[in-house]
């Protein structure tokens, strides 16, 4: 788990993860690179993160990956990330192709749904919560009604 102020250095992170696992005898390495799209007049997206719960969420995933002989990695940006740059990289290393393909899908989707990260559009220097793209976390609403 790696958190950075602003846009990620995609090539450096990709290459370092590759090098770190050079002798690990994994047969498949699948990174997912999330890049900020230029749309809706935004100049950047911006992110808040709550680190203690993000760490606990990720530790749960590390344990699930180990059960399948794999490892998971991720890096995410904090604060503003300009369009056409990267805010997010996840990756799976696994001995087997199938495990890697299945895990990257589950991992990326669960990240989207349950990692404690809040997204804002940055338009004209203003930070606007991306309410329409945000979803309640699993178990949300305990304090409702």
């Amino acid at each position: 788990m790696e958190l950075y102020d602003g846009a990620l250095d995609v090539k450096a992170i990709f290459g370092r993860w590759l090098d770190e696992n050079h002798q690990s005898n994994y047969g498949a390495y699948i990174p997912f690179i999330g890049i900020i799209r230029e749309e809706g007049g935004i100049e950047a997206l911006s992110f808040d993160i709550y680190e203690p719960i993000l760490r606990a969420w990720f530790e749960g995933w590390e344990a699930r990956a180990v059960e399948r002989g794999a490892i998971v990695k991720f890096a995410h940006a904090i604060g503003d990330v300009p369009v056409h740059t990267s805010s997010y990289i996840s990756a799976v290393f696994s001995p087997q192709r199938r495990v890697a393909l299945e895990l990257i899908d589950l991992f990326v989707e669960d990240f989207k749904a349950n990692a404690p990260i809040w997204k804002y559009d940055v338009i004209g220097g203003k930070r606007i919560y991306a309410e329409d793209r945000s979803t309640p976390m699993a178990g949300a609403g305990v304090l409702g009604e």
Binding site: G34, F47, D48, Y50, P52, I53, A56, H76, S87, Y88, V108, F111, K112, A113, N114, A115, P116, I117, W118, K119, Y120, Y129, A130, E131, R133, S134, T135, P136, M137, A138, G139, A140, G141, V142, L143, G144, E145
Partner: protein
């Protein structure tokens, strides 16, 4: 007293609230402007552990975090 933290876009400073369970805390927060509208869609953590138990007991000094809808990536 427990400390309630409002994360992300809720944008409120932390509050000290007297409540013995999450259900009691819910009653108190319902009356707070700028907070009540987030309760139905927010998840909750006590001392940085997620919980879905409305009857979870709260102790003096506990930290309760309110986590509104997320969008990482």
């Amino acid at each position: 007293m427990v400390t309630v933290e409002f994360l992300g876009p809720i944008g409120k400073p932390p509050m000290e609230v007297g409540a013995a369970t999450l259900a009691e805390l819910a009653e108190a927060l319902k009356r707070v402007e700028g907070v009540s509208e987030w309760l139905g869609t927010s998840a909750v953590a006590i001392n940085d552990r997620m919980t879905t138990d409305r009857n979870a007991p709260l102790c003096d000094g506990d930290k309760v975090s309110i986590l509104p809808p997320v969008c990482g990536g």
